[in-house]
């Protein structure tokens, strides 16, 4: 599904070049559940953003679902991740001005899905996540765990093949974190490929494979 070959990413500060990612080679197969670990500043989030096509890289090849990402134009790339990728963030990143229902609905709007269809899909996922009662609340009226549930629901609403999660439990207490992790396992069983970035050994263990990053390099 994903193939990264010799990915480099750097920033130039004065005469110095600081490498954020250094010679990353990584293959991810459909149905995997991968945890990326490493200390602060090791490039975990950067790698995740590169995979999610939010961030660009300076060198290397990236093949996603048989498409050479590095050769695609901005628009085609956007179309690709719109269709296949869902994001979950540590800080939830819900739109404060929209209700739970509307937050979850937003990706569908951008995919030009008809209103009646959208209704059915959102109702379905609200039901699946047990948050039907919260659908008219605004994000600030929810607890952190609930907000993250909404965030995951939003990431999954368009049936992505790949779920990218950047420290999804980072702002949650351990019980809430556990629930989210169990949800991930369930999703993975249903066929969603998951890549998560985490600090916690315990959460990393939920994954089927762990990748350790240090100073932008994959440790072997």
């Amino acid at each position: 599904m994903i193939e990264l070959k010799g990915i480099y990413k750097w920033v130039n500060t004065g005469n110095n070049r600081t490498f954020l990612l250094k010679d990353i080679n990584l293959t991810v197969k459909q149905g995997e559940f991968i945890s990326i670990m490493g200390p602060s500043g090791s490039g975990k989030s950067t790698l995740l953003n590169v995979i999610g096509m939010l961030d660009e890289f300076d060198e290397g090849e990236y093949i996603f679902m048989n498409e050479p990402v590095h050769k695609l134009k901005e628009k085609q790339r956007a179309a690709l991740y719109k269709q296949y990728i869902g994001f979950v963030f540590q800080a939830y990143h819900l739109i404060d001005e929209l209700t739970v229902y509307e937050n979850i609905e937003t990706p569908l709007i951008y995919q030009d899905i008809k209103s009646s269809e959208r209704k059915a899909m959102v109702a379905d996922i609200l039901d699946r996540f047990n948050i039907v009662g919260k659908k008219d609340l605004f994000p600030t009226q929810l607890s952190g765990g609930q907000q993250q549930l909404v965030g995951i629901a939003r990431a999954l609403i368009a049936n992505p093949k790949l779920l990218l999660a950047d420290e999804p439990t980072g702002n949650l207490n351990s019980k809430q974190g556990e629930e989210i992790m169990n949800l991930f396992i369930q999703l993975n069983k249903d066929g969603v490929t998951i890549i998560q970035v985490t600090h916690s050994e315990k959460n990393a263990a939920y994954g089927s494979r762990i990748i350790n990053l240090l100073d932008g390099r994959i440790e072997k």
């Binding site: 956007a78 990143h93 937003t106």
Partner: protein, 801 residues
């Protein structure tokens, strides 16, 4: 999708009340100003366009070249002959109509009232498109004793508009002559240069119509209708050619009478398009024409409206961009969940559209509310019902779309360009130099400061105009218009009035203003204003003499031989010893008058006009037309009653009305008073909208710098110190604005003041006052928020970070 956008937009507006209020209030005011000015400008350019033949109607005007100065004097007046003779001899001219303003004394019940009206040719209704309510277009002005009136005039006269065949009594010398109403016409549109209540057929005797000397006697407006697509220049040259041949004999006979000066009476004939009259600055609209305005007013008003709207849009741009830190997260999320840039641009444009829409609706309400004041200020009768004009609606929609784009486009482009990785990971940096925001603030305050200084200049000049010594005393002076048949009649009235204890003194004078030419020595001539007075005129108005003596009853020959002149006259004549000099009038069969005294210059006209040469005589042949009555202070009501009683006793068939002279003098500056107020409104609005924008920015800046302020306070900064830090940046911008605005305002004020022969000199204190005002207002605006931020508890602000 749009539903989603609007939902977000609405919730954003509701959540950020200060921000929404600033933007909506500012834009509504700006749009309202623009709408009012569009109404005004539309009215200006639509002036007279309802005349169906307007494109082919021209006014005959003349240019006279002043030999001494080489200056061209343009005159809109013509005489009896130009119309008919040009039409007979120039094939392109299809028709003509002459219009002369006048007034008649009309009986209304037991009262006699003075009615202003126009004398016109019977072709009037064939040329001008004033629809008749009743009567016949072809013959309503044929009979000499017919009268045509508007619906309003008919209602005042008869209480109904069904008045064909009814009789109006008009005074002719001492008897009332019946005039028959032959037609009723709709009231003149307010955007018509020709306005009237009544029309009478023009009174031209057979002798007048055939006397070729009448070419040189100009007192009415002549309009001609040309064939469509006529070549104006060729018509003008034909007119000139015909004029030269037709006046040959008249010139020879006039030269015998007056000498070579007759050469200077020759004119050059031109045609002024009818539609160009309203905004003409060279040829006055007079003699039945009114409402002319200077196109400069349209420019100034449009300028102010544009300023206000621009400043409101700048508020929108600045506040939206400054608030973008808060919106950045939403933008990032939207991009991550699949929005592309175009969709985001549309979303933000949608938000500015919504905001503008609310402002637009409010603006319409504001226009409706402020129309009465605006009409008063701009001397118009505009109504919002004008709105139902398609062009105007189109104009407003254009204005709306333009405002939406002006305000919304830049923020939409900037905001939609944010990279999600940066905005979502708090790596977002909006601390940059913000040159755009800063220059926009500078622009706002430059405009505001400019208008404030301009307003101060106008105020000062206005004060000068209304308080400057006129050279005479106009307090407690009542003037009454009355055409006296003889000087004795006037003196009879004077003596009658003086019997009254409340009346101090009385002086008759000619009515209206006269001017003429006289010969000095052998070949030099002088143009001057020409007053017919008696020995009481100078004392009543307390006009001092510089030299010589006043007219006096001790010198009975004064009325036949003596004159007084003013100082300017002496200067123009170049006399070293004015007393005893002689003046030779052209129109008086070369009778010679001797100067017996020099009157100190006084402003006999408004201060808008330079004092010209003036000459005073007591010649019995010149009729008195008004009296100046000095009453005792604080006896106005009693004295006025006494004056009216005496008047009615002596002249029961004459209309009576009085004017206080100081009020009349004040009225001379009505235009200035109005512009003073318009500028004041403009300045207030610009500074107000600029300040609410600045306030919004200071709120956002303080929010953005909460953490910095917290740290500074923890490190020991005082409240004063923090306030200074927060206010300094904004005040710096205001200073830059002043540096730009002051020279610009200086130039513009100077230019404006050049219109006035008597004017204030621009002093630095005026600019200092303007600058101080701007700084003070800005300081109050900014420090309000700065103090609030500075006294906040740092522990709180740091914790929330």
């Amino acid at each position: 999708m749009f539903k989603n956008y609007f939902k977000i937009a609405f919730r954003n507006l509701a959540r950020n009340k200060i921000y929404s209020l600033i933007n909506i209030a500012g834009l509504a005011i700006g749009l309202a100003c623009a709408m009012l000015i569009i109404l005004y400008v539309k009215d200006e350019i639509s002036y007279d366009r309802f005349q169906l033949k307007a494109d082919n109607i021209y006014r005959i005007v003349t240019h006279n070249v002043d030999k001494n100065g080489g200056k061209i004097h343009k005159d809109p007046n013509t005489g009896y002959l130009q119309g008919p003779r040009f039409m007979q001899n120039i094939p392109e001219i299809k028709n003509f109509v002459r219009i002369q303003q006048g007034n008649e004394n009309i009986k209304l019940g037991d009262e006699v009232k003075n009615q202003e009206l126009l004398y016109v040719d019977s072709s009037f209704f064939k040329i001008f498109s004033f629809p008749l309510v009743s009567g016949n277009v072809n013959n309503c002005l044929n009979e000499p004793l017919s009268v045509v009136m508007t619906e309003d005039a008919a209602r005042t006269q008869f209480g109904t508009t069904n008045v064909i065949g009814r009789i109006v009594m008009m005074k002719d010398d001492s008897v009332f002559v019946p005039h028959k109403v032959t037609a009723v016409v709709k009231n003149c549109p307010q955007n018509s240069s020709i306005k009237f209540d009544m029309l009478l057929p023009i009174r031209e005797s057979q002798a007048d119509a055939t006397n070729s000397k009448n070419w040189f006697n100009s007192f009415l407006n002549t309009f001609v209708v040309l064939n469509p697509h006529s070549d104006i220049q060729s018509v003008e040259s034909k007119m000139q050619k015909f004029y030269v041949t037709d006046t040959k004999d008249a010139i020879i006979s006039l030269k015998k009478q007056f000498g070579d000066v007759v050469e200077s009476w020759k004119s050059e004939y031109h045609l002024q398009p009818f539609l160009a009259m309203h905004l003409s600055t060279e040829l006055p609209s007079q003699n039945g024409l009114s409402g002319a305005s200077n196109p400069m007013y349209s420019y100034i008003l449009s300028g102010i409206a544009l300023f206000v709207l621009l400043i409101a849009c700048i508020n929108f741009v600045n506040l939206t961009v400054a608030r973008s830190v808060k919106r950045a997260k939403e933008i990032g999320i939207r991009k991550v969940v699949g929005s592309d840039r175009k969709q985001l641009i549309f979303q933000f444009l949608g938000e500015s559209f919504l905001l503008c829409l609310i402002a637009f609706v409010l603006a319409i309400a504001l226009v409706q509310l402020s129309l009465p004041i605006f009409n008063m200020l701009s001397n118009k009768a505009l109504a919002l019902s004008y709105l139902f004009d398609i062009k105007l609606v189109a104009g407003y929609i254009l204005l709306f779309v333009f405002t939406t784009l002006l305000a919304g486009f830049y923020p939409a482009i900037v905001l939609s360009g944010y990279k999600p990785v940066k905005s979502l990971y708090n790596r977002f940096n909006n601390v940059g130099k913000n040159y755009l925001q800063k220059s926009l603030v500078v622009l706002q305050f430059t405009l505001a400061a400019f208008l404030i200084i301009a307003t101060l200049t106008i105020y000062k000049q206005f004060n000068f105009l209304t308080n400057e010594k006129l050279g005479y005393d106009d307090t407690d002076i009542v003037t009454i218009q009355k055409d006296f048949k003889t000087h004795e009649e006037a003196w009879l009235f004077k003596n009658e009035l003086l019997k009254n204890p409340g009346i101090v003194s009385v002086a008759p004078r000619n009515g209206g203003s006269w001017s003429t030419i006289a010969k000095l020595g052998n070949d030099s001539t002088i143009n001057f204003d020409y007053e017919t007075i008696d020995d009481s005129f100078l004392p009543v108005l307390k006009i001092p003499l510089a030299l010589g003596r006043n007219f006096s009853s001790e010198f009975p020959a004064d009325s036949a031989n003596s004159i007084l002149v003013n100082e300017t006259f002496v200067k123009k004549a170049g006399w070293k010893n004015p007393i005893g000099q002689t003046v030779n009038f052209w129109y008086n069969n070369n009778k010679i008058y001797t100067v017996i005294g020099v009157v100190k210059d006084y402003h006999f006209e408004s201060l808008n006009k330079k004092i010209g040469p003036q000459l005073f005589t007591m010649k019995p042949e010149n009729p008195y037309g008004m009296v100046f009555i000095k009453i005792k202070p604080n006896t106005a009501s009693v004295s006025l009653m006494a004056i009216q009683k005496s008047f009615k006793q002596l002249f029961p068939l004459n209309p009576y009305s009085y004017v206080f002279m100081n009020e009349k003098n004040r009225k001379a500056y009505e235009a200035e008073a109005k512009w003073k107020q318009i500028m004041l409104f403009g300045a207030l609005l610009t500074i107000f909208i600029s300040c609410i924008g600045l306030f919004g920015l200071s709120v956002l800046s303080a929010e953005k710098r909460t953490k910095e302020i917290g740290i500074r306070k923890v490190l020991g900064a005082s409240v004063n110190g923090v306030v200074t830090i927060l206010s300094k940046d904004f005040l710096k911008l205001v200073f830059i604005s002043l540096v730009i605005a002051i020279p610009a305002a200086w130039l513009a004020s100077n230019k404006w003041l050049e219109n006035y022969p008597y004017r204030i000199s621009l002093s630095w204190s005026l600019f200092a006052l303007g600058a101080l005002l701007v700084i003070l207002i800005a300081l109050i605006t900014v420090s309000f928020q700065a103090i609030k931020a500075a006294v906040a508890n740092p522990v709180k602000s740091l914790r929330t970070e």
